[in-house]
Symmetry: C2
Subunit: 254 residues, 2 copies
């Protein structure tokens, strides 16, 4: 088992950013600047073609850190960010761009490539969580959430299905072909985002994946707009979801 | 045109409650206790079988008044609350209870009875808004929202479709048979609630009504659970929706 090794640290506007590695996998851990007190952790998964410090990741982390006082960790997926691309990665990316240029469906390529990346990434995510829980400010007994849309869902659904330490998750915007079967093993509360006019994922496909989760408490947020137009206010909603589920003491009368 | 006449006033925990009538129609207006400053108005419609001061109405009003500083008004629907029931009302209610007792579908009765009530109520809602806008603390140029679930949607959809003063609306939990055609004339931002395991309204019916709205900005919130289990946190979400749409100045950087 690999321990977590910090490689850089900076801080801005109330948030500390620490780069780390667990084995070969580079990650980033964002934490409140105000203290080293123990707090819940949210693991996030980035989208396809971007990386652990993409503005969407840093922006979501800032909401969780500054509004809730949580720790937030993201690692680069295989073939993404600071990690090398294999010949297979190059081939699948070329196939995706070719389909896009030809106006052909991207779904079949994304589904199979993301499923391949998930097989590589899921063991890394388990190891990453092991290593993060060795930090005294996280610990082994605190609540842990998972938040990943698009490719973050393709990796996150099999990860959460096999990871009892995750107690609440936000997913969205992926196809049911591979993931529905894994989603049927997930029982923790979820919030799920889909776009009503998604040009890649049909309504039926998006609804089928939401329907597959075995969670007794699950919420679907659908917004008008295409694949890239997920409204910014859904990030606020996800933050409130994690505040509800990872900090029971935040309920008004407690 | 009937003017608004106040008939009673009380106040508790930062909220003033004023009973009023507009013609024959009794209503209630909740306002911030802290001041008589002009503020946006949210009209609400209550559910079938209950009334203007049902705890769901008072609870939603409290959120809007104390968190946003808005005015909130509700009137009793025809045949509800302090208003007399006609022989037709009694007949339809008996038909509904008979269907329920026999385990037969309630939808066809609710759809036709609510459509009947909407025909009576919509002119009253327009007149009610006219009268409310004569109050100096509301005025004719302020933003106005509408919030009604169940029967509040059956009355609210035709009302909002014909009422250009409403600039944002929250609807949910009704059938598309009568309402979809009216929803196609609604273009203001909407938030729409449906229950994934509703024993009365099928998923296809609920999604068809959401789909019908012509609004460029529309959000659907689906939650696991049956007809009566709409989660309490959807009221918080609706309040944030009205805060976003009725008070542009509330946006963070303004």
């Amino acid at each position: 088992m690999h321990s977590l090794r910090f490689t850089a640290q900076s801080s801005s506007n109330g948030m500390v950013e620490r780069d780390f590695t667990v084995g070969e996998v580079p990650g980033v851990l964002w934490s409140p600047a105000s203290g080293a007190g123990r707090a819940p952790l949210v693991l996030m998964g980035h989208g396809g073609g971007n990386h652990k410090k993409h503005p969407a990741m840093a922006g979501r982390a800032r909401l969780l850190v500054t509004r809730c006082g949580f720790h937030v960790a993201v690692v680069d997926a295989p073939g993404h960010g600071d990690r090398p691309r294999t010949a297979h990665d190059e081939q699948e990316i070329a196939a995706l761009f070719a389909a896009r240029a030809a106006g052909e469906p991207e779904g079949p390529i994304v589904v199979r490539y993301n499923a391949h990346l998930a097989q590589l990434a899921v063991p890394e995510y388990h190891a990453n969580l092991d290593a993060l829980q060795e930090l005294p400010e996280i610990g082994t007994d605190g609540p842990v959430g998972y938040w990943g849309i698009n490719m973050g869902t393709a990796i996150g659904v099999p990860f959460v299905a096999a990871e009892p330490r995750i107690t609440a998750a936000v997913f969205g915007q992926h196809w049911p072909h591979v993931l529905a079967e894994q989603a049927r093993r997930i029982t923790v509360p979820i919030e799920f985002d889909l776009q009503w006019d998604d040009e890649h994922i049909s309504r039926e496909e998006g609804l089928a994946l939401f329907d597959a989760f075995a969670s007794k408490e699950k919420s679907l947020h659908v917004n008008a707009g295409n694949h890239k137009e997920l409204p910014r206010f859904e990030a606020d909603s996800a933050v409130r979801f994690f505040a509800r589920h990872l900090v029971p003491a935040l309920t008004p009368t407690a």
